[in-house]
Structure formats: structure tokens, C-alpha cells
């Protein structure tokens, strides 16, 4: 009994000490540990998926590598934590990861009530539907009464509910814990459990590659929602949010100024003041973020600019073959726009 009371007292003392630790200074924690803890999906080709050698690759993965390059000058100093849609925000809130790069949609309630911040939009997407060609459906408006497979715990379920109710259509949502289970169920059987599969359009292209016969399926033209996807961080550490935000902006600015992995070394001698500020040969933008002056050189040399990362992972150099579209630079009619680095 004496011993039990002693153990309890010790327990209380240790909890009290733990609670006084501050939520600030994520950068210091990361630097002290030596690598970034980055939450990614459990396998969405093009965004984050392990390849046959067990290395993670994808747009979201490269964002984390860019962060590691900016902080450590080594894109390998990232530990990827695969998370399901339903666990991802809890993992970030509880400190299991420092940044969540998991094709997550920026919404008001996530920004406010979940205690998160969405510093940047790395991919503009929208929700769509995929069906079997044999159904001979050409529009989502013909999906009355359809069974639809999806992953639970995402904005997808909410958008589908809004869309079907707004158009006065009935439907049946079959929601699974993970995308893999949902797509497997959609693909099982000659005329499967679900008539349609729904997620973001880019996700549809990626999941389609996992089907037995990808050519038997078609993505319907309707885009039923706005899905601004980007990294999320915990609310309350403005410095860390700034680093995440400006890492993305730096990659966009690099593309805009023609700074790529191949040209970055020669660009260091560029007389263009914008390029000089970006690459740290003039001013101290990197130091203002708590990094080094050459932070963008590190990012672009090790990982690439936004356009390179896009084409390599989801664009024309990838099996997904997604067009730049909304994700083109603002100078080319797209939405990717970075505030000035000065």
C-alpha cells in the first residue's frame, strides 16, 4: 500500500511536469531530433506511396523532402508516418507528426475547431466519380439510386451528401476505413458491390491504376466540390507554419523564375535581383524563417521546383498523366501564385 501511494504520487508529479512543456518551437524539436516526422497517406500513387524498393515517393512526399532539404540540406531526413484519413488529424494534434502532407482538404472547421493551420495549397483538386464503362453512364446526374464506395472520415462523404440532396437523388454510401478497402470492394465481382467510386479527381486517377482493368472504368465529367489540398500543421507555432508555407512558395517562385535542379548552380550567379533574393545571394529571407540563407538552393537542388515535382509525380512524366490545369502557375492561367519573397 505504501508503495502504491508512492507510485501514484510520482505519476502525478511527472504528469504535471509534462503539461508545462510548451507547444512552441517545433523547429527546435525537429532540429534536435535530426529528422522531420511527416504524416502521409497509406498509399495513394502520385501523392504518397512506397515504391517497389520501399522508398516513399509522390507530390506530398516530395513536399516533406523539400522541408527536410530546407532544414537539414538532406531530403532523406524525413520519417514518413502512413495515416488513414480518420487518424490523420489526431496524429497531428497529439504531436505524433510535425506536418501532415496527406492530400487533406483545407476547410474552415479543420482550420478552426481542429486546432490546425493550413499554410499552403499544393494541389487544387475537386471531387468526382468513377464508374464502369459497362454501366453506360455519362453524367453524375444519372447516378440516382446508385451504391457508391468511398473512404470514411473525409470531406468526400459530406460533398456527396450535399450533391445528391441538392439534386434530389437517392444513393447509398458504403464507407470503408481505408481507400484500399473501398477500391477493392468497388473492383470485386463482375458487377461489383458499388456502381461508383468517389474521391478527389486526382485520387480517382491514382486509384484507377490499382483496378484489375483500368480501361473498363471512366471518370465522370462532373466536379462536385472544391478540394484545396495542402500540408497541415498544429495551430500555435507561427514560425513552423511560416517554414511550411514558404517552402511551397519558394518552389513556385523557383519555377516562375526558371530555377530548376539543373539550372540552380548557374542561377547563383544571376544578376536578376528576384533570383538573387530567392537563392539567398542577396538579403536574408532564409534566416528570417530560422533557416539558412541558401534554403531555396537546398530545396531546388535536392528536390526540384514545383513544376518538376508536379510533372514527375502526377503530371506528364508519371503514370497518372494529370494536366497542370488549375495547378499551372498564375502566369500560365493557373491558380498557383506565390507572394513575393523579399
Amino acid at each position: 500500500m505504501h508503495r502504491l501511494a508512492l507510485v501514484l504520487a510520482l505519476g502525478i508529479a511527472c504528469c504535471g511536469a509534462a503539461s508545462s512543456a510548451s507547444a512552441q518551437a517545433t523547429l527546435k524539436t525537429v532540429q534536435a531530433r535530426g529528422h522531420v516526422l511527416c504524416g502521409v497517406s497509406q498509399g495513394l500513387p502520385g501523392f504518397s506511396a512506397p515504391n517497389d524498393k520501399g522508398q516513399w515517393s509522390g507530390l506530398d512526399v516530395d513536399f516533406c523532402r523539400a522541408l527536410a532539404a530546407a532544414i537539414f540540406n538532406d531530403p532523406a531526413k524525413v520519417t514518413f508516418v502512413p495515416l488513414s484519413a480518420k487518424d490523420r488529424f489526431t496524429a497531428l494534434q497529439s504531436g505524433d507528426i510535425e506536418v501532415l502532407a496527406r492530400n487533406s482538404t483545407w476547410t474552415l472547421s479543420r482550420d478552426t475547431a481542429l486546432g490546425l493551420d493550413f499554410p499552403a495549397i499544393t494541389f487544387y483538386d475537386g471531387q468526382g466519380f468513377m464508374v464502369r464503362k459497362s454501366l453506360k453512364v455519362s453524367s453524375a446526374l444519372e447516378l440516382t439510386g446508385a451504391s457508391i464506395c468511398t473512404q470514411t472520415g473525409t470531406t468526400t462523404e459530406l460533398n456527396a451528401a450535399d450533391y445528391f440532396h441538392a439534386h434530389n437523388m437517392t444513393y447509398e454510401m458504403v464507407a470503408f476505413a481505408t481507400n484500399d478497402e473501398a477500391i477493392k470492394t468497388y473492383d470485386t465481382g463482375e458487377n461489383g458491390r458499388c456502381d461508383a467510386f468517389t474521391t478527389d479527381i486526382a485520387g480517382l486517377s491514382a486509384e484507377r491504376l490499382k483496378l484489375a482493368n483500368p480501361d473498363d472504368h471512366v471518370v465522370l465529367p462532373e466536379v462536385i466540390s472544391k478540394e484545396p489540398l495542402g500540408p497541415a500543421v498544429r495551430h500555435g507555432d507561427a514560425q513552423w507554419a511560416d517554414i511550411v508555407r514558404w517552402t511551397h512558395f519558394a518552389m513556385i517562385t523557383a519555377e516562375e523564375l526558371g530555377v530548376s535542379a539543373a539550372t540552380v548552380d548557374t542561377m547563383l550567379k544571376s544578376p536578376n535581383p528576384e533570383v538573387r533574393r530567392l537563392l539567398g545571394t542577396e538579403g536574408n529571407a532564409g534566416e528570417q524563417l530560422g533557416l539558412t540563407k541558401d534554403w531555396v538552393v537546398r530545396i531546388v537542388k535536392r528536390v526540384g521546383n514545383y513544376g518538376e515535382v508536379f510533372e514527375r509525380n502526377v503530371g506528364k512524366d508519371s503514370p497518372l498523366g494529370i494536366a497542370r490545369g488549375q495547378n499551372a502557375l498564375w502566369t500560365k492561367g493557373g491558380l498557383q501564385y506565390a507572394p513575393p519573397i523579399r
Binding site: 500500500m1 505504501h2 502504491l4 501511494a5 501514484l8 504520487a9 505519476g11 502525478i12 504528469c15 504535471g16 509534462a18 503539461s19 507547444a23 484519413a85 480518420k86 488529424f89 489526431t90 494534434q93 472547421s109 479543420r110 478552426t112 475547431a113 481542429l114 486546432g115 447516378l143 440516382t144 439510386g145 446508385a146 451504391s147 464506395c149 470514411t152 472520415g153 473525409t154 462523404e157 459530406l158 456527396a160 451528401a161 450535399d162 445528391f164 440532396h165 444513393y171 447509398e172 454510401m173 458504403v174 464507407a175 470503408f176 476505413a177 478497402e181 473501398a182 470492394t185 470485386t188 465481382g189 463482375e190 458487377n191 461489383g192 458491390r193 456502381d195 498544429r234 495551430h235 500555435g236
Partner: protein
């Protein structure tokens, strides 16, 4: 803490040094537990406030905004998260109750069959037990699910049975019963038949106790309960019609539909748990001394009656405690629903709702409280039943 003053009622509590020390230690322990709990809650609140994460139970009144594929109670997207909680709870309870029911029936049948003198039956039962007990439950649920959605045809090529039964990979569709004029009288007749059956059983038991002469009360009761409402039903001109579902667009409209997710989950839970229950039943029967069966046989009881009247009642005392823990397992294992997309409490509340609102602490606490309450109530009911089975001295 048993000492002499506890075991001697009527004697006054004496303030011995040992008693004071014991009381002080107990008070200190309670205080430490309360302090620990309070410090945990305070820490959590502080951390949530620091991170600007909303807390409290206000979210239960917010509009959920998503749909649920299967709901026992009325629900649509404009209902609240509180309603979602009830939808999930009802689905969890439905799956658990059906799982327990089927597992018990199958488990007893297999357990008894395993001790059957028929070599084939006993071996078949043994194989069933080995297969179901040794394969992971999740695997079994997925097996039934993939079997259903993989082998069954799509809605347009459905298998159609009698009475408007339809089977396809969207589920088993039963016709919707539509009440006609006078159906209430059938219900009244059924109620009266149940009462009459109870009276007959009581009378038969009393007469057997008095005179020793038996009466086939079971068969008569069954005849009453089935026959009387059926007669009234036919006399009133069959006041109940079945409206079969019809194929429209992608799927059948109308009817009562059991979705494959539900069927696979209940089948997986029931067949898996039945393997364990069969072993418990076998052990219980073998725990009854052989002499009991031999004595019954020497009285001229046939083997079936011996099992029913002599062996099973004694075996139940051995069977019930481990059976209780199997029932609790069914309730807990029903949370594997997520893997096949069935909207149980864990899927829609600790899953979707948690993800939409982010209020992990409140939602997990509520979910834990629900499972704890179900488990405690199940254990309580089974313990009461077990107490009734205890031998009564005459």
C-alpha cells in the same frame, strides 16, 4: 482488511492504532486517485485550449451532414451528431444481439454434435471447431464479405426466389409486408395463444409434480402459438400482403434490404464465436459425471431426453461463466465492422464523427463508456442467470 471487528456484527468499531492507520492509508489512496484523475483532466483541457481545439459536448447538437448506408432508426444528413451516435449504437446492438443469438444456437448444436456417437457428425463438428477457432476473425469476416460481393450477381442479374425474395451483391432483399384490415386481430390472437400456452405449461408442470404423469406441453404450446393466429389470419382473408421490391435504375426500390456488409459481419461473428461456444458446451457436457447419464438410462430415459433433462441442466453451471465472456467478445468484436464498411458505433461515431469534429477525447470517452456499459450489463444478466442455475437444496 478483514479483522475481527468486521466479522462480529453488533460490536462497536474500536479506534485501534491499526484501524486508524488502515483508514488513513485508504483515504490517502482515494485522494491520490482523485488527484491523478483531476490532474489528467486539467492537463488535457489545458493542452486542448493551448492548441485551440474545441472541447465539450456541444458538437452533439451540430448537423452531421453525411449519410449512413444502414440505419435501424430514422436518420438523414440534416440530423445531428447526437443522432449519429444513436444510429451507430443501434447498429452495434443489432449486430451484437444477432451475433450472440446465432453463435449460441450454432455453438450448442456443434458442441453436442461433437460428442455424438456418429463418427461422421463428430468429425465434421470437430473440423468446424478447428477451422473457425484457428482463423483470425477479421479474415473470416472479409472472407464472407468478398464471397458475397464477388460471387453473387449484380442487381440486373439478381437471383429471384419465391415470395419476392431477391439476392444480389447489394444484399438480400425481402418483400415489404403491408398490413391489411384486421391484422390487429391476428396480433390479439397471437397474444392470447401465448398466454394460453403459458397456462398449459404451468398446469402440466403442476400436474407432473403432483401425480408424476407427463403432458406434451411443449408440443401443445407450439401448436397453440402457431395455429391460433394462423387460423384467425386465414378466417379474416389474409390481411397481410407482401410488396416485392422492383428493379428501377441501379437497384431494387422498396422491400427490406439486408446489405452484404451486415450479413458478412453477423455471419463472421456468429460462426467464429460458435466455434468457441461449441468447445465450452463440449467441456460442460463432459464435466457432468458419466454416472448421471447411466442413471438416467437405467430409469429408461432415451438419450435425447437424458441430454435435455439431466446432462444439459448440470452442464449449464459449467458453461455459463465462459459463455458470458464469449458474449462480451461478440460485442467488442462487432467493432470490426469498419473493415467491411458497416456503419456501427465505431465506424460512424468514433470514425466519421471524430474525423469531422476532431473531438477525440469526448468521442472516445463516450464510445468507451458505451462498450463498458454493454459489457457490464451483459455480465450482470449472465451472472443473475448463473445464480438461478445454482443447485437448490431441498
Amino acid at each position: 482488511m478483514t479483522n475481527e471487528s468486521d466479522s462480529a456484527p453488533g460490536r462497536r468499531f474500536r479506534l485501534t492504532p491499526a484501524a486508524v492507520r488502515a483508514a488513513a492509508l485508504q483515504a490517502a489512496l482515494v485522494g491520490a486517485v482523485v488527484l491523478l484523475a483531476w490532474s489528467l483532466i486539467a492537463t488535457a483541457r489545458q493542452n486542448l485550449a493551448d492548441q485551440h481545439i474545441a472541447s465539450g459536448f456541444g458538437f452533439l447538437q451540430q448537423t452531421a451532414g453525411f449519410d449512413v448506408s444502414q440505419s435501424l432508426i430514422a436518420y438523414n444528413r440534416s440530423d445531428t451528431y447526437g443522432r449519429v451516435f444513436l444510429v451507430g449504437l443501434a447498429n452495434t446492438l443489432l449486430v451484437s444481439v444477432l451475433g450472440v443469438l446465432f453463435a449460441t444456437v450454432i455453438g450448442f448444436a456443434v458442441g453436442i454434435a461433437r460428442l455424438s456417437p456418429s463418427w461422421v457428425l463428430a468429425r465434421l463438428a470437430g473440423a468446424y471447431v478447428e477451422i473457425t477457432r484457428n482463423l483470425p476473425l477479421l479474415f473470416q469476416i472479409l472472407f464472407w464479405y468478398l464471397l458475397m460481393i464477388g460471387v453473387l450477381p449484380g442487381p440486373r442479374q439478381s437471383l429471384e426466389g419465391p415470395f419476392g425474395l431477391v439476392l444480389n451483391n447489394r444484399g438480400l432483399i425481402l418483400p415489404q409486408p403491408v398490413a391489411g384490415v384486421g391484422l390487429e386481430w391476428v396480433a390479439v390472437a397471437a397474444g392470447a395463444a401465448v398466454v394460453a400456452a403459458a397456462v398449459v405449461s404451468r398446469w402440466a408442470r403442476a400436474r407432473q409434480a403432483r401425480t408424476g404423469r407427463g403432458f406434451p406441453a411443449g408440443r401443445v404450446s407450439a401448436l397453440l402459438i402457431v395455429g391460433v393466429p394462423l387460423a384467425v389470419f386465414l378466417l379474416l382473408g389474409q390481411p397481410l400482403t407482401l410488396a416485392p421490391a422492383e428493379l428501377r435504375g441501379f437497384n431494387f426500390i422498396g422491400g427490406i434490404r439486408l446489405v452484404p456488409e451486415f450479413v458478412a459481419l453477423v455471419a463472421g461473428l456468429a460462426l467464429y464465436t460458435a466455434g468457441f461456444i461449441a468447445e465450452i458446451v463440449r467441456a460442460g457436457i463432459q464435466a457432468v459425471d458419466r454416472g448421471q447419464s447411466e442413471a438416467a438410462a437405467s430409469l429408461g430415459l432415451r438419450p435425447g431426453r437424458t441430454l435435455q433433462l439431466v446432462v444439459i441442466p448440470q452442464a449449464m453451471r459449467v458453461i455459463v461463466p465462459p459463455l458470458t465472456s464469449q458474449y462480451l467478445n461478440v460485442v467488442k468484436n462487432s467493432s470490426l465492422a469498419m473493415a467491411v464498411g458497416f456503419p456501427d458505433l465505431v465506424a460512424v461515431f468514433a470514425g466519421t464523427t471524430l474525423n469531422q469534429t476532431g473531438q477525440a477525447i469526448e468521442i472516445i470517452a463516450m464510445t468507451m463508456a458505451v462498450y463498458l456499459a454493454i459489457s457490464l450489463l451483459t455480465a450482470l444478466a449472465m451472472n443473475l442467470y448463473n445464480r438461478r442455475l445454482a443447485p437448490v437444496g431441498r
